[in-house]
Amino acid sequence: MSEQSTLGQFDSQTSLIPAGTGAEGTLVLTITMSVAATLIFLAVMAAVWLAWRRERPGHIWWLWAGGFILPVIALVALMVGSTFTLASIARVDRDALVIEVTGHQYWWDVVYDPDGRALRDANEIIVPVDTPVTFRLKSEDVIHSFWVPSISGKIDMIPGRVNELTVEASRKGRFRGQCAEFCGLSHPLMAFEVVVLEKDEFDSFTAGLSDEARDADTLQLKQGRDVFLNEGCTACHAIRGVAEGARVGPDLTRVGARAALGAGMWRMNVGNLAGWIADVQDMKPGANMPSYNHLSGPDLRAVAHYLSSLK
């Protein structure tokens, strides 16, 4: 995984430069529809031009050809094309690798292999290249929508329901996803990143996901871990090997290894982490986490360094 996040990179979040089978189908359909619509428009304009000239054909078959047969053929062709494209995008592959993503206000809970090892992570989704992956999409609170424009179409995450979407990334890279259904005050700040890796890199990533968090090995990191344990962070956040079980907020076991902080919104570094902890409500209004502005300066620095060290 590269260190640099996709923040501010235009080509990481566009369906015009596809990186997955769903986005490729959508792009082909868009181009086909646009070309067909342009041709029909030009044909209609030509007919209007003919009508303005006074040499009107005296045959009624023009009306039938232009007013009935041509639209029927064109619409049926476009409907068949779009139906097949949409059907192929919406197809759910039951044998594919499953990744469960649950939308929360305003972050994403990610569980790899939910029926087996159930490896938990958050806000960054790693998928193997050229391999079908079925996303099992849920919501914990309100309606969210899961959309990675470069890779596939979007699908809503409805509370109480499970929606599924099979995608297949066609090239390696780092792509941005965004919540596409208004879900509250910080809806625009609810993004994530999808990292497409080779199959063997993906396997070694998931193998490492069950490990416990890196140990605090300096005085400052130990102080940071103690602040994390004593200040109540563990009520919402889990760090494997340090504090287990809490699922109200994102799992922080490998928080420092993610490229972005706050659900894909800020670069992951000590500075942003410290600012985030001290004033979440300013950076992400309406988030469930309170601003920890009662920490002393050294405690704030220590916990920021500690979280940054978790890789």
Partner: protein, 169 residues
């Protein structure tokens, strides 16, 4: 009119005419020793020098010692602005010109160049601000500002940008 007054006017006139005559004769004779011409040439040269000095806008040429001492040798403000974004300074500070930098955890860096002290412990000078950015807790052990692993080159560029905010220019 008394005879004494007539005599005084006559004598004065004769003397003045005599002096003028001598000076005229000297000037017409163009002697090597010419104090009048030298005096005229000197005053002309000095006058032109004075006019030229005013014309050269001497106020602008005066060194601005206050802003010059805040100049950062080798600092690139444009790169510094980019780095301020990448290091995440905006999570805690308002930094004019940096996108999204509107944090309220620490002080706003608007008009930073006008401040007298940094964090209340260092003077506001390029060297001190550079060292502060590299390792804040070294200078103020209770500060909430973490050491971000900033390199010296990066710190200089960021200081160069911060000193474009406000100041004497």
């Amino acid at each position: 009119m008394s005879p004494a007054r007539i005599i005084r006017i006559a004598l004065t006139s004769v003397l003045t005419a005599a002096v003028l005559g001598v000076v005229t004769l000297w000037a017409l004779a163009a002697p090597a020793f010419d104090p009048v011409g030298a005096a005229l040439a000197w005053s002309k040269q000095r006058g032109e020098a004075l006019v030229g000095w005013y014309a050269s806008d001497p106020v602008a040429a005066t060194p601005q010692w206050q802003s010059m001492h805040m100049r950062v040798a080798g600092g690139d403000p444009a790169r510094g602005r980019q780095l301020i974004n990448e290091y995440g300074c905006g999570a805690c500070h308002v930094v004019p010109g940096v996108p999204g930098a509107r944090g309220t955890v620490g002080p706003s860096l608007t008009s930073l160049a006008d401040r007298a002290y940094i964090a209340g412990v260092l003077t506001n000078a390029p060297g001190d601000l550079t060292r502060w950015l590299i390792n804040p807790p070294y200078f103020s052990q209770d500060t909430a500002m973490p050491d971000l692993g900033v390199t010296e080159a990066d710190a200089k560029d960021m200081v160069a940008y911060l000193y474009t905010l406000g100041g004497f220019e």
